[in-house]
């Protein structure tokens, strides 16, 4: 339809009669244009943020090389050249580890060997795998943000969810996949929801700030996991180290493609994003969440219950974080240890901030952070640059995204002020 109208709308004369007719093509077009422009403007900050973070990351790589300064004095040109090479090697290893190398793809497709083609997609699969829990924790934190709550406790909720999910995963033998898997996923959601319900209830009833309570519940959850992993019946038989029994195969997320580790957990993450989006922007309850987050006083005068919204939002948020736990124990490790997460819950904060608490943005931000995680290990093994570089880059990305004024100051451009964070309160106020 749009193509047939193009020649007409290009000439100014034909535009005038066209706009008088009831047909609304140009209006649609301009709205589309506006949306595209808004979308592009929304991308300015994240893209500049990632760019700036990578630049600073490069500086960190160079400066942390102890021999750099000696070489700089001896031969400045060669030292700088070597430094640039080092940075490029690190970032290209990071990139290749995250999305694969073009030559591998070409070779694999040229050979026509299915195994080789599958193997070429391993980096992509690893990125999806790492992105899966991040989608859930990102959604968890974002849902809290939308309701004016800062859920720092996604990490603890993830662990409790994983604990419940693992139990359901090994305790019920003989169930078919289509019963056992949903059961285990549901158990994970329940565990996380329980751990999110506590701070929600306390905030609603007593005004206890959710940041302190969720931080404390994180540590409580870590200790709880350490305890549970030593309980006979939960601990794996014949083991003295803290590790759970292996979950049954009927509770595992099925693989997306045979031979790759990426699984249906990722699809569940996408579904969860759609559901959260619907909840927040299409349902009455979500409207109440956002109203309470935006202006609690006004929401109360409009007859909404702040307490109900707070408790419900924290509970669902915890449940989503719990799903992140299931995506690990039922998708990757197949058993629970105290080291399964490695900061997925905290990365969720970064992702929610970066995406401005929008579910669609969370998917992209999770893929980005998943790519960082997936690429970090090959980067370390190839170039010897420690994995922790990725943490530095991530922290810088959030810093730039959460303070648009900073980006504007550095690049001297106009960028929108909104960060998606306006909805949650300042300081410790209840």
């Amino acid at each position: 339809m749009a193509e047939s109208k193009t020649p007409e709308s290009k000439t100014p004369e034909s535009k005038t009669p066209e706009s008088k007719t009831p047909g609304s093509q140009p209006a649609d077009r301009s709205r589309l244009g506006q949306r595209l422009a808004a979308g592009a403007r929304g991308l300015v900050v994240p893209v500049l943020a990632i760019f700036s973070a990578l630049v600073i990351g490069a500086v960190v790589i160079v400066l942390s090389d102890v021999t750099f300064f000696e070489r700089l004095q001896a031969d400045p040109g060669a030292a700088l050249g070597a430094a640039v090479d080092e940075v490029l090697a690190a970032y290209s290893a990071l990139f290749t580890g995250a999305v694969g190398s073009p030559t591998t793809y070409v070779d694999a497709f040229a050979s026509g060997d299915l195994d080789q083609v599958t193997h070429a997609f391993v980096p992509v699969s690893e990125t999806l795998l790492a992105a899966t829990p991040l989608i859930f924790t990102g959604l968890a934190v974002a849902l809290g943000f939308q309701c004016g709550l800062f859920n720092i406790g996604a990490e603890g909720q993830l662990y409790v969810g994983a604990m419940f999910g693992t139990f359901a995963g090994f305790a019920f033998a003989g169930l078919p996949l289509f019963i056992h898997l949903p059961l285990a996923i549901g158990a994970g959601f329940l565990g996380g929801a329980l751990w999110g319900f506590i701070p929600g209830l306390l905030k609603a009833r007593t005004g206890a700030h959710e940041v302190i309570v969720t931080i404390m519940l994180n540590y409580t959850a870590f200790r709880l996991i350490e305890f549970v992993l030593k309980v006979p019946g939960y601990q794996r038989e014949g083991r003295t180290d803290p590790i759970s029994k292996v979950t049954l195969e009927s509770a595992w997320y099925p693989l997306l493609v045979e031979g790759l580790r990426a699984n249906w957990g990722f699809i569940l993450g996408l579904v969860a994003a759609v559901l959260v989006s619907w909840l927040l922007f299409r349902s009455t309850r979500g409207f109440e969440f956002r109203a309470v987050g935006f202006n609690p006083t006004a929401a109360r005068y409009a007859g909404m219950s702040i307490a109900t919204s707070t408790i419900l939002a924290m509970t669902i948020s915890g449940g989503l974080a719990g799903l992140a736990g299931t995506s690990i124990v039922l998708g990757v490790t197949h058993s629970l240890t105290s080291g399964i997460s490695a900061g997925f819950g905290f990365d969720g904060i970064a992702i929610a901030l970066m995406a401005g608490s929008r579910p669609r943005g969370i998917i992209f931000a999770s893929l980005l952070f998943g790519a960082f995680r997936a690429g970090a290990t090959p980067m370390q093994s190839i170039t010897g640059i420690p994995i922790d570089l990725v943490v530095v880059i991530q922290a810088l990305v959030i810093m730039f995204v959460a303070a648009p004024a900073l980006v504007r100051g550095i690049y001297r451009i106009r960028v929108p002020e909104t960060t998606g964070l306006e909805t949650f309160g300042q300081g410790w106020r209840a």
Binding site: V66, A208, M216, Y219, D388, V391, A402, A403, L406
Partner: protein
């Protein structure tokens, strides 16, 4: 709830207060029941618990006899005390003295627990108390940092990152220069610099302060781990500082119990005492403190009378960062002797809780930190004693206590009114 109670006429009964009193009373009774039921298992009537009060290996000073109590009797006495206080709490309440009563009940509970754990053997109580102070030290530094920042109206959740970077800097600079004092100074400077970043983000760019603090924590964790893995692993000589040796103060360190606890530590302990005194005096008895508190409570009013609000905030946040940096150096230069990644293990967050627990005052924060330190110390010692209670639950106790306190089950703490709110000249 408290605001309502304060403004309502006195004759109207504050229902929330009554409910709190009831909850407390029931909690005391439950604790009494726990003591009487659980802490008497495997204890026989003739057993005694011995608490050693003289540090092992110490030769000088007064000879402090060990405390020997009949286990069974002591536990039942503690249970009786808790039950009696619980009953009184339920019947008539203690009014404004609830905090003292709560303290007594907690002490009775801990005493009963220790008696049970030490039944039929001897336990070095003085060792636990010494460890309590040591474990509480870095927490107090963190809490003091929080007090300095938040009294001026800036929420500092980045204490954890400042401790961590202080620990790292202390180890590296201390090893590189071979001079620990330089290490501590450098740690303070790096802590201050990190706080400067927080201040710019929070004050100049009006970024949400909790987000800014979280970012700094992630950044500090990432940077220190990165450099530790990239540099310190191959250059071990950069991570081998000499630890500060302990410096017992003559005479004072000979005082029974208190001497070994507070006057036999290394330099960090005395720096801490000086800081607590200085900050307490400064905040509450000087013009500087009055201005800081004015900025934290009502920045507009402070601005009107000519106080530079933004400058006061910058200065206090940077000072707070320096205090946290020194506290961080304790981990490497005062305690373990080398940097390990993420070695602060959430002490900064605990410090934050201690600050809230202590009602935003230096002395309160110190006492609250000692409670957290005690739980830490108890866990470390009891795991040696092979006590039947899983150590994980003991480790949970401080966190759960914090939640209960923050949830205001036992009365609300009052924070600076403008805490966390960016100031804009109107």
């Amino acid at each position: 709830m408290t605001a309502v109670a304060a403004s309502a006429p006195a004759v109207i009964v504050d229902r929330a207060a009554i409910r709190r009193q009831r909850i407390l009373g029931v909690v005391y009774l439950i604790m009494a029941a726990v003591i009487a039921y659980f802490l008497t298992t495997e204890v026989t009537a003739e057993q005694t618990s011995t608490f050693v009060l003289k540090p092992a290996g110490s030769t000088g000073g007064l000879d402090v006899p060990s405390l020997v109590v009949p286990s069974m009797l002591a536990v039942y006495l503690a249970a009786g005390l808790c039950a009696a206080l619980g009953a009184m709490q339920l019947i008539r309440g203690f009014g404004s003295r609830w905090a003292v009563v709560l303290g007594i009940v907690v002490v009775a509970f801990v005493f009963a627990f220790l008696t049970w754990a030490a039944a039929g053997r001897s336990m070095s109580l003085i060792g636990i108390l010494q460890l309590t102070v040591q474990k509480g030290l870095p927490i107090t530094f963190g809490a003091l940092s929080g007090v300095l920042c938040e009294r001026a109206g800036v929420v500092n959740i980045a204490i954890e990152g400042m401790l961590l970077s202080g620990a790292f800097t202390g180890a590296v600079v201390g090893s590189a220069t071979g001079n620990n004092v330089v290490g501590v100074v450098a740690a303070a400077l790096v802590g201050g610099a990190l706080a400067g970043v927080l201040a710019v983000l929070a004050i100049r760019y009006k970024m949400n302060q909790i987000v800014a603090g979280t970012v700094i924590n992630i950044l500090a964790s990432g940077l220190t781990s990165f450099v530790a893995a990239r540099v310190l692993q191959s250059h071990r000589e950069l991570n081998e500082p000499d630890k500060f040796t302990s410096m017992p103060i003559p005479l004072l360190s000979d005082i029974p119990i208190i001497g070994p606890m507070f006057f036999s530590g290394n330099i960090f302990m005395y720096i801490l005492f000086v800081l607590i005194g200085l900050i307490h005096y400064g905040l509450f008895y000087t013009r500087w403190g009055l201005r800081v508190r004015a900025v934290g409570e009502h920045p507009r009013a402070a601005d009107t009378v000519g106080i530079n609000v933004l400058f006061t905030r910058y200065r206090n946040v940077v000072l707070g960062g320096m205090v946290a940096g020194i506290g961080g150096a304790y981990f490497t230069l005062g305690s373990t002797g080398s940097f390990v990644h993420d070695m602060t293990g959430g002490r900064g967050y605990i410090g934050l809780a201690a600050m809230i627990f202590g009602g935003w005052t230096p002395i309160g924060a110190f006492l609250a930190s000692l409670i957290f330190g005690f739980a830490d110390a108890l866990q470390a010692r009891l795991s040696i004693l092979n006590v039947a209670v899983p150590s994980e639950f003991l480790l949970m106790v401080p966190y759960i206590v914090t939640i209960i306190v923050v949830a205001g089950l036992v009365g609300r703490v009052r924070m600076p009114a403008a805490d966390g709110t960016p100031y804009e000249k109107g």
